[in-house]
Symmetry: C2
Subunit: 403 residues, 2 copies
């Protein structure tokens, strides 16, 4: 069976029909003048929409505002900025978010209450509203503007993260952008990710599909175990693809879920790969777990272990650290049932070390993508998690961020 | 009221009456020839004893053996080695642990089943038994040997960790040694710590007192979030102090607990300070939590956050990361109730940033001990946790460990 899902060259968030975007360098990023830091995404009309937000109990003003505005399941536009998280800024921060949305309404031609807000950057500082107002006046929207938006939400990211795919069977397109880098951990790990589709559907279906896709992708990524105050994952559907509206029972529900998973997993992997200071992607495949939940726990614990991450960084096939991480993950574990392999090289069988070619294993850890496979030998639970190596650059990047 | 507890100059695990120890360089540490790596602690006779072990489901052979042997609440000797964890070594590893204990019985003049075993080092490698046997034959025990033992259990530790205190009121002494450095995280964080006392008491009281002390000390320490397969905290009581045997209801129970807490907190702090690559100690004091459990969660989450640790390393008063850590800790939190201070400088009040002298705050983060104080403003729960900064040296140390 040929793959139903086609990746669109140069695809982004404005690839699906009915969306425009644009960005400017408003000067919110104090240390990076001329770098885009303010962006708007606009749909031609009000869309069914769904979102997932940070589980952190300290929520930034834009998160609180967007949660309120999405209660009705619809949105028409989004404004996003980097350089300032607008978190821990109290009533003034909320007023700034509301004003930002109101200014965006003018640019997007949307009702203010249909505008969502997302911010990322330093916590505890107010948005520079004068610069933001001046910047907003210069934003123009276009059907190619997704690329600009993808750049404008970057912080310590080294590359924009964007994709679009088409479902041949469904005739619809899904696009997505994301920013990651630090404060990335399972439970709405994305920091920011915005997705669009031209599929016709409703917000209830979008919400369920988004949760499923996030559980397979963004919620299986860890960079450093820290959860942000601003994490937002948003999906808007313009309905312009002309398909029969998709609900949970529709023939196209599976095709939509599959395409959405593809987009989210692509973005999640690239977030892990581009984690602060990372030099390579770590993919952890756990199978044979007693339950799905156990598989998820074990995969995420291995992918986020500092000792596993540093060992991969140093090309050190120190599999004992993987065993130790599996053992503390909370998953049901029997030491004498565990098989491990590193980059395809079996290193542990039934809990016991195999004699293996350490040079070949070290070599496997030098690859751009390092695959760790764990068979717990207990059941049929399987899950995949992604992380990155831990380098001195992670420390360098984070030791001097605000000062 | 004068302090009942006196710190004994040069005190160690053989300071309490009735204990001898000794160590040799047996060659278990392959890369550090001539460095002590095998040590024995012996009591003059069988002692009431209690221990806490790793919660990791992958347990090293010496942990499993010591757990079995301590079921009766008594022990007379301990053998400890560094350089090899004897973990993931199956039936052969268990046989090695049993033989090591048998050899120790000869050195210590103790029944083999009264000998406990503790190992630390690389996971997945067998103990070099020929070298261990030869080394064991050279061990001599003395009442000053605690210092040798403290050195012999070091791995990446930069200094031995030892202390002894005397309770003036109780007339008894408690000594302790520990090794820490990496794979250090709450829930039996110590890797290895051995405590002795000459107080007369029983194993039930020792067990309860040890759990209380660990909850205030070793279980509030984090270096990197990884839990070892070998963590062991052991307490043996020779009974030679001549006191009325202490039970939970004894007049001296409080004095014993206080002295034990003092020893454990001292060792826990120094483990944090000497965490791999650490340049300073971070102490996190949380008060005003809704519950004690909330206070413990919040304190440990802040102390173990990579972003807080890197900020301290860079002398960066980036308090937003502390807010974010508190918010994801699982503790009940209301943003507008939180007060924060860094090194005594208030930076947040009722959840809002204060304007503070950033240079003074940066200066406070350069101190040998950095104190972070969080008032959650909700109740009377209070707890203290310890951690260390995250430096490039942590990465360097851990990127090349086995190879």
């Amino acid at each position: 069976m040929p793959d139903d899902i086609e990746t669109i060259t140069d695809g982004t968030i404005t690839t699906p029909r009915g969306f425009r975007a644009g960005a400017v360098a408003a000067g919110i990023k104090k240390k990076a003048k001329g770098v885009p830091d303010l962006a708007v995404l606009a749909a031609d009309r009000s869309c069914p929409a769904a979102a997932l937000f940070t589980t952190n109990k300290i929520k930034a003003a834009p998160v609180i505002l967007s949660q309120q505005r999405l209660a009705g399941g619809r949105a028409q536009a989004l404004v996003a900025n980097s350089g300032c998280a607008n978190a821990c800024t109290g009533a003034e921060g909320m007023a700034d978010a509301v004003e930002t949305a109101a200014l965006t309404a003018g640019v997007a031609g949307a009702p203010p209450e249909q505008v969502l807000v997302a911010s990322t950057g330093v916590i505890g500082e107010r948005l520079p509203m004068a610069r933001l107002r001046a910047g907003m006046a210069r934003i123009t929207l276009s059907a190619e503007g997704g690329h600009e938006l993808a750049r404008a939400i970057m912080t310590t990211d080294t590359m924009p993260k964007e994709i679009a795919v088409k479902s041949r069977r469904g005739g619809f397109t899904i696009g997505g952008v994301a920013k990651g880098s630090g404060m990335i951990h399972p439970n709405m790990a994305t920091m920011l990710s915005f997705l669009t589709t031209d599929a016709a559907t409703d917000s209830a279906f979008l919400k369920a599909a988004l949760q499923k896709a996030a559980d397979l992708s963004f919620n299986m990524v860890s960079v450093d175990g820290d959860t942000s105050t601003n994490d937002t994952l948003l999906l808007m559907a313009s309905g312009l693809a002309g398909n029969e509206p998709i609900t949970a029972d529709s023939p196209l529900a599976g095709a939509f879920q599959e395409a959405l998973n593809r987009v989210c997993i692509y973005l999640a992997r690239i977030i892990a790969r581009d984690g602060e200071g990372a030099t390579r992607l770590i993919e952890v495949n756990v199978h044979g777990a007693a339950t799905l939940d156990d598989a998820r726990k074990a995969a995420r614990t291995v992918a986020s272990s500092p000792l596993v991450k540093t060992a991969v960084h140093g090309h050190d096939p120190n599999w004992g650290r993987i065993m130790a991480a599996v053992g503390r993950s909370g998953a049901e574990v029997r030491e004498d049932r565990i098989d491990l392999s590193l980059g395809g090289i079996p290193v542990v069988s039934y809990g016991r070390p195999l004699s293996f070619d350490r040079k070949a294993a070290a070599k496997a850890l030098e690859e751009e993508e390092v695959v760790i496979t764990v068979n717990l030998g207990l059941g049929s639970g399987a899950a995949t998690a992604w992380g990155c190596d831990l380098s001195k650059d992670y420390v360098a990047i984070n030791a001097e961020y605000t000062t």
